[in-house]
């Protein structure tokens, strides 16, 4: 069970950084790079390459798992009987670490900080392929982030109270550098101090649904996430309770959550890691309907489509079914490979608010992706927005997508109405600032 190594390719398919494939022939990483580049070149369109590519060579056979990150390709090679999910989970974790260290993950940031990336690789992935420490909390003690290095150098004495939790790990002889590993909690470093203690929770719920031709909801699921940002001193032992914990089903938790306690009391008991982390993932199922578990979709679309020769016309009417304002609504319609142009007019009707006008929406046709896009920045309740138009195509019987892709955001709203009851802190005496925010978004496929 092991990952052979990790390679980062730039957008043109050339390696930027790769881990040291010490126990492999020099050609080994090259073979994988070539296999991936070939597969990408052969792909009829973006995103159609299998994420696990089987690589065969004379001496051994292996596979390469790849994901796209910021225009680059992160590639993990695996051989033997390895779980590709481990490779993907590792790539995810590594990307997150890079984000933590550099803010933005791009060709430029990686090249600028290649020595740090290299050290991170060494610390996170053992040469025989065992992922080691990927918790950003512990890594920050072993490999200093660029911002910390400059902070350290800027301050006259490294022991300034401003960054007290940073030990002088970069210099020789400091004995406590691995203090992280003596910490009894593998995800949290020991001895964190903050002048201002706070913990923030962002509850983000995302609806994913498919609506059939006849307007009935085929599938709609709501996946929730509790994102947290913790800046708490010492070893804070927290208990988070909800007034309606039963809206959360099929939960998955950060390793810090005591699973037994959740099973018993429906309370989240945990010692958080420092900084950002995802406390829990869950799915929301409306309680009243055990059979039809669909969550109602907060908008409706009426599509009048008329297919003709060398093009077609359409009239789309969007209506909100929500009291809250929906934001950044975006509807995408793929017009088919041979589409050449589109013409549309926007209007809105029936709204009680007088200011509804064309300023609220915009449309565009991307001739590269052959996609028509309609955007409405603010969609208030009880109004309809209408897009009428036509498109042209090079072929006689055009084949547009039979589905619209709709995305939207709803600030300060949750589908599940999950409500935090209280957050208790034990084992520490200080006062802390707590905050909870709700946010929802959706991505719906609407067929016609």
């Amino acid at each position: 069970m092991a990952i052979d190594g990790l390679i980062i390719l730039d957008p043109t398919g050339r390696p930027i950084i790769q881990s040291s494939y010490t126990t492999y022939p020099a050609a080994y990483p090259l073979l994988h790079i070539e296999a991936l580049n070939n597969a990408l070149a052969k792909a009829p369109r973006e995103g159609s390459v299998d994420p696990v590519i089987y690589v065969e060579e004379l001496s051994c056979s292996s596979a390469c798992c790849h994901v796209e990150v910021g225009g680059m390709r992160f590639l993990a090679t695996i051989s033997g009987d390895v779980d590709p999910l481990i490779a993907f989970a590792f790539l995810d974790a590594f990307t997150e670490i890079l984000q933590d260290y550099f803010g933005v993950v791009s060709v430029a940031t990686l090249k600028d900080n290649f020595d740090i990336v290299y050290q991170l690789l060494e610390e996170t992935l053992d040469s025989s392929g065992h992922p080691l420490t990927t918790s950003p909390n512990l890594l920050s003690d072993i490999v200093l982030s660029p911002s910390l290095i400059s902070k350290l150098l800027a301050s006259v004495s490294p022991a300034t109270p401003g960054v007290p939790s940073v030990r002088q790990g970069g210099s020789f002889g400091s004995n406590g550098a691995s203090g992280a590993f003596t910490s009894p909690i593998p995800w949290r470093k020991a001895g964190v101090r903050h002048n201002h203690n706070e913990i923030l929770f962002d509850v983000v719920e995302e609806m994913r649904g498919i609506v059939g031709k006849n307007g009935t909801t085929l599938v709609s699921n709501v996946f929730g996430k509790i994102e947290s940002n913790s800046k708490l001193s010492g070893t804070p032992d927290l208990t988070l309770t909800f007034t309606n914990p039963n809206v959360m089903t099929d939960c998955a938790f950060h390793p810090c959550v005591r699973l037994q306690k959740w099973t018993r009391d429906n309370a989240l008991s945990f010692v958080p890691p420092e900084g950002r982390f995802i406390l829990a993932d869950y799915q929301y199922r409306p309680p009243q309907s055990a059979v039809v578990s669909n969550v109602p979709i907060p908008l409706s679309l009426k599509a009048n489509m008329d297919m003709g020769e060398f093009g077609g016309t359409f009239a789309l009417t969007l209506t909100s079914r929500l009291i809250k304002v929906m934001e950044n609504l975006e509807l995408k319609f793929y017009l088919g490979e041979d589409a050449t142009s589109a013409q549309c007019t926007l209007s809105s009707a029936g709204s009680s608010v007088g200011s509804v006008g064309s300023a609220d929406g915009s449309w565009s046709f991307n001739s590269r992706t052959k996609t028509l896009q309609w955007e409405i920045l603010n969609m208030r309740s009880s109004g309809s927005w209408i897009l009428r138009g036509s498109w042209t195509s090079k072929i006689k019987a055009p084949r547009p997508a039979h589905a619209f892709q709709i995305r939207f955001e709803i600030p300060s709203y949750s589908f599940s109405s999950l409500k935090v009851d209280q957050l208790r802190l034990s084992s520490e005496t200080y006062k802390m600032y707590k905050g909870v925010r709700m946010r929802s978004k959706g991505s719906i496929e609407w067929r016609w």
Binding site: S20, S48, P51, F114, D126, F172, T182, P186
Partner: protein
Amino acid sequence: MSTQQGQDAKFFQRGKIEEFRAELQAAEAKDKKFQKRKTVLKKIVANITMGNDMSPLFHDVIQCIGTPLLEIKKMVYLFLVSYGRSKPDQIHLVIPSFLQDCNDRNPLIRALAIRTMSYIPIPVVTEALTDQLRHCLKDRDPYVRKTAAICVAKVYTADPRKAERKGFVELLRDMLIDENATVVSNAVAALSEIGDRQDGVIFKLNLTIANKLLSALGESSEWGQIYILDSLLRYVPEQHADAEMMAERVIVQLQHANSAVVLTTIKVLLYLMNYMGDRRLIDYICRKMGPPLVTLLSSGPEVQYVALRNILLIIQRRPTVLKNDVKAFFCKYNDPIYVKLAKLEIMYRLAREENAREVLAELEEYASEVDVDFVRKAVRSIGRLAIKVEPAADKCIESLLKLIETKVTYVVQEAVIVTKDIFRRYPGKYEGIIPKICENLDALDEPEAKAAMVWILGQFADKIDNVEELLDDLVYSFLDEPAEVQLAHLTAVVKLFIYKSQSEVTKALVHKVLKWATEDIDNPDLRDRGFMYWRMLAMNPAVAAEIVLAEKPAITTDSDRMDRGALDQLLLHTGTLGSIYHKNPETFIRNAAGRALIDSPALNANSRAVLVSLARPQLPPIAISVSGPGPVEPTRPPQPSEAANNVPLPTIMESSRSDERDLLDVEGDDGAGGDSGEGYLEGDDDGPVTKAADPYASLGGAFGGYVTDVPQPVAGGSRGGDLDDLLL
């Protein structure tokens, strides 16, 4: 240093060896805070990452190893990791520094030193490491201990027998009860790596140690949890209660955020279920496994893909998992094609009478999409659905006819191919649609579709009025057709002749085709069949009719499910490459250790009945050629009997057995612990297992992912009772 932030990119310019050497030498003289050295080393490391050979600088770089600055030390070590192995004649120069660092006050440096040494498989280094490693395994700092644990696996790789003699395996075993969870999980990882080697000691767990590991689970990192969970597959429960207790402790891990942990947990649960007796508990676990699997589908497309391929395996073995969740697998227009194809396959598997209508509606939707591969697959699935779910067959046929009317060539061709199978599945029921199909003869240009059409024409020659005319038209290009179409033609005209032996047109047609087949064709199959038909028709047309129009075995879709025993074995590899390609890893991955269920008093009868024994396979001496996207198994699957004859030398077997007794396993029975296939079956009351001979015989055609999913005739006895026994 701070001034250089953001400018490191310039180091990526190709550096010159001589330049670096000069710079390093200059730095020796006057180097405030070692900044100069650091800059040069950074440039060198940058060049290494670009793949430029920096090894000529070996001598110069190792001079810096004593520099009292961790950053510099790290870069020198990085250099050694890259080039140490290629300098066996100079490496002894570094040994004193290595030894010094192994005893440094800073645990990071101690760990760095042994880690780097373990990367350099040169005897002097390994020798020096062996002594240091023993201390480090007992270091007071857990960071050093956990690093040392992994190093043992590398020392073992260098020389297994020597590492055993030096007692490293026992030292690792002792670490399984370390107080630090990370150390425990790394020890497990190292032991697993050793245990997976073909020449390694066998790593087995007994109940006590398995329980100890489980208690370390809560405090481990996600990677540690994966190692520990995976190692539970090395524990063979002796009683139902043991398996059940363990499953109850493991099941909470299904709530882990890391997808790899979730899938590994499912693998362990599936394994333990083979040893359980309580049917209700099995049902309960199956229900619990569904939601986390669905949750995996909310991840990125890569994770979805791996999850879907695994789900496909799991639901074949445990159909109750996800029984009611077919909607979760509905395809979205924007899903990548590999996700869509995998979902489609699962939708078909989950289709039952209750949800057939929904599934069909979806399939119709997909058949109107743009992507050709996906559309074809969708059309084919409609046909398979008709064959699988009888009450839905009428609707499926309707929908196929509608698709044929679209006149889109590839849609029509797929529809014709599946219709042929539907005719065979429901004889006498749908022949009324033949005229409709015949209207589209011109659209067929692919061999498979053409052959299917010709088969239909021949088989139902008595029901099609203008069949002679149609066949005559098609036969026109006979000599240019591929063999599969020619064979179909040959048989079809013979059938036609049997139905309409009086017609002059038919006689001429048969004569023409038989003459072509026997005189103008080089393909021996075709020629032989031509001669055979000709003689049959000449000698006794009545017998010919009986043979050619003999009743065909009914076809079902049952047989495209995998063989139960092979499935059990594959599920032990849940979440691994094997489960992606649906092949056992040892058949296509070199050095992969096979896994098999091991018999024990707790193994339930149904699992035992299909037990596949495992012999450590002999790898073919030459490379295996691969065609297509996935790996191909060697043409000769490992035969237990044959492999047993030339598996490990007796001495190695002896040594691994005695090691095993010394180590983790407490059972004294030699027969049950051996690593040859026969060993596991000894003492089995059920008698010899017939399927053991070739567990994969049915695997290629029976499943094979997206390629061969054609329904096949029922082989041998009925599988009616199968669904029921799948529950246990």
